[in-house]
Amino acid sequence: MRGATHAKWAALATVVALAATACGGGDSGGGGGGADGIVSSSWGDPQNPLEPANTNEVQGGKVLSMIFRGLKEYDPKTGAAKDMLAEKIETTDSTNFTVTVKDGWTFSNGEKVTAKSFVDAWNYAANLKNNQKNAYFFGYIEGYDKVHPDKGEPTAETMSGLKVTGDRTFTIKLTQKFSTFPDTLGYAAFAPLPKAFYDDHAAWLSKPVGNGPYTVESYSKGSQMQLKRWDGYPGTDKAQNGGVTLKVYTDNNTAYTDLTAGNLDLVDDVPASQLKNVSADLGDRYINTPAGIIQTLSFPFYDANWNKPGQEKLRQGLSMAIDRKQITETIFQKTRTPAVDWTSPVLGADGGYKDVCGQFCKYDAAQAKKLVAEGGGIPGGTMKISYNADTGSHKEWVDAVCNSINRALGNNKACVGNPIGTFADYRNQVTQSKMQGPFRAGWQMDYPLIQNFLQPLYYTGASSNDGKYTSPEFDKLVNQANAETDIKKAVGLFQQAEGVLRDDMGAIPLWYQNGSAGYSDRVENVSLNPFSVPVYNQIKVK
């Protein structure tokens, strides 16, 4: 039995060692009601460290929207850019801007927000060495190419277009005329940063400090973040609740279940599989409003087969062969709205949202068939719509679009879906111009401006012009619009440019994506802003 005894001890020791590592725990506090009530909200793990210029997805964006305020702030309802920290932004030539920062603003650690807080933050964001994802936002500022060259090391530390001229004033020089530039400054990437950000970067990342209505109380990466109302917040949009607890859920279905069980106050991503039950479960506590996201079908203009004169009729015909209304109702349960232009309803009529597409975005089988024939028919007889198969259940709507086209044209072989395994692979093929037929494209606005829906996507050589669409007339109108200091006239010129896009049918607008959210009966006054982020500071706890 000697050997056996040894083995016994060894086994016992290993088991004990394993059990010992399994200790730990703690508990989380709940919140009371009223003005100090805490709102609990679903969250996903942010994909990047929480730096303002390195966050380009909605989960990190939620936090930034609570702890930062920039020169401008977008109205949660209308999307209009309004002065927040900016006292005034002046320009005479749409190229040189003078910014005056309001007095009396501080970061939550007491440090004053000055012109330098902005200029230093922007230079940090643009510098290639800091690997910030949103660096390209600063591409319009003079000297950007020196701090963020396409090849090699940066040759300058700061952008020559930014100059601090006083404690609360600084000037911006752009490389081109861009009249609506001040309205882009509400984007999180343009937020001011306190000195602590540079002095002890790691500490700042584990507990970010900003100048918004909330402060970070605690942050355990990958599980939850507790934010508390900052009582010293100088702005007018003070928090109406005591704080917000963001909880990371493994699955949006679980978050939804937790909401229906009354353990969670707010879910801002209602899972598609629950859309059928949502009105039964939540009644009027379900929000479904348009967001600044548009889905389109792009064409490979770099492919000779798809770039023949007269083919605009083919593209227009295809657009008219798609029954947008039916697809948005049956496949998307009305969480998409049929598109009537290339922008988004969140811009509002003043911002440039208008039914530019007209009859070309309406389903008309007979007219579609005629136009496709006049446009020379579908190249090769069959077209394949490419999409990535791994996320977003694109297969269903692509198949529906193809069915709609096939039905309208009376040809079962006119259109088929072409799934590509992963999003990464799909994007690679798209950016390397390897598409041989139409492909799906989605655009989420960076800031609520008509410019942002047109220039990056359809201007010759623009950063996200994946179909390589080019039109001298379109480019000319965009340039004119950017140079126009009168915002109303600028918007009119952008709409004219959109008209060019319609006549060419440079991309087929499909539908606008909605943001959805559900909330518990413990909270009220819940809404989504144009970026589909809940307006946390307005939520009231009963």
């Binding site: 056996a4 793990d45 396409d150 937790d258 994007r427 950063s463 996200s464």
Partner: protein
């Protein structure tokens, strides 16, 4: 905003920073060198993989402990009862039940129990908090254990039924030992060998294969991290976790081998 909008300069810089401009063999050697010094690299959100592990493994170990306890306590008890009363109504009932459990996938059981206990009756919270304490893990642990539990029951039952007629059991009975002692000391102990083998292998499977259960009950454990790693194509996370899981498998099997000697006096290690 569309997809990863990396500019060429940024791309080149990141390539250099992560060593992606070096030949593959060199990248591999660097990675392996780091792994042996305990550095599994950095996940895409900037957290070191070791930090993710430090958060995820304690949670999953707790979940596994709960699941294994269920397997041992319920599985083996049911196995002994049915094994001793083979062919009786108890036996048939349990057999039928295990058949049902075996044929229903875990995610169905999980969602159903979550809906009934969590939402309809309100006995438990449907989602586990980030701390994931033992009491919160009881229901998820039962769900996770359900299939294995059925296997353990069936294995024990067969093994007991077979050994009941063995010589040493008859000897023990003939010696006049009390029935309790015959069953626990002689019959059960010898019958447990296949069961222990199964449970040992199951430890590894439960730790790595809890993806469905962890997602349903919001448990931030290994399965969740693996899933995130796969979805976000974070190779470091996936390779790191799988490496550790392999070690866990090896360790679990080592324990099983050592336990053989405890259970069966005929097996000895020098």
């Amino acid at each position: 905003m569309r997809g990863p909008g990396l500019r060429p300069g940024h791309r080149a810089r990141l390539k250099q920073e992560f060593g992606l401009d070096k030949p593959v063999w060199q990248q591999y050697l660097t990675y392996m060198g780091n792994v042996f010094t305990g550095d599994f690299g950095t996940a895409f959100n900037g957290q070191p993989v070791t930090e993710l592990m430090a958060n995820a493994f304690p949670v999953t170990i707790r979940l596994t402990v709960v699941a294994i306890l269920f397997e041992i306590v319920i599985g083996i008890s049911l196995g002994v009862v049915t094994g001793l009363k083979r062919g009786r109504p108890v036996d048939t009932t349990v057999l039928l039940l295990t058949l049902v459990v075996l044929s229903v996938p875990t995610f169905v059981t999980g969602l159903l129990i979550q809906l009934l206990l969590g939402v309809k009756w309100g006995w438990i919270k449907p989602a586990v908090s980030p701390e994931a304490t033992f009491d919160e893990l009881i229901v998820p642990g039962l769900v996770l254990a359900s299939v294995s539990l059925a296997y353990v029951t069936r294995l024990t039952r067969t093994s007991i039924a077979e050994n009941k007629r063995a010589d040493y059991v008859r000897t023990a009975v003939a010696k006049g030992l009390p029935r309790r002692r015959v069953i626990s000391r002689h019959l059960l102990r010898n019958s447990l060998i296949p069961v222990v083998t199964f449970i040992g292998a199951d430890v590894g499977a439960l730790m790595g294969g809890a993806i469905a259960t962890e997602r349903i009950f919001n448990i931030h454990g290994v399965g969740y991290q693996l899933y995130q790693g796969i979805v976000r194509q974070s190779t470091q996370t996936v390779v790191g976790f799988v490496t550790v899981l392999v070690l866990v498998f090896l360790l679990a099997n080592l324990i099983v081998d050592l336990l053989y000697a405890v259970l069966d006096p005929r097996i000895r290690y020098a």
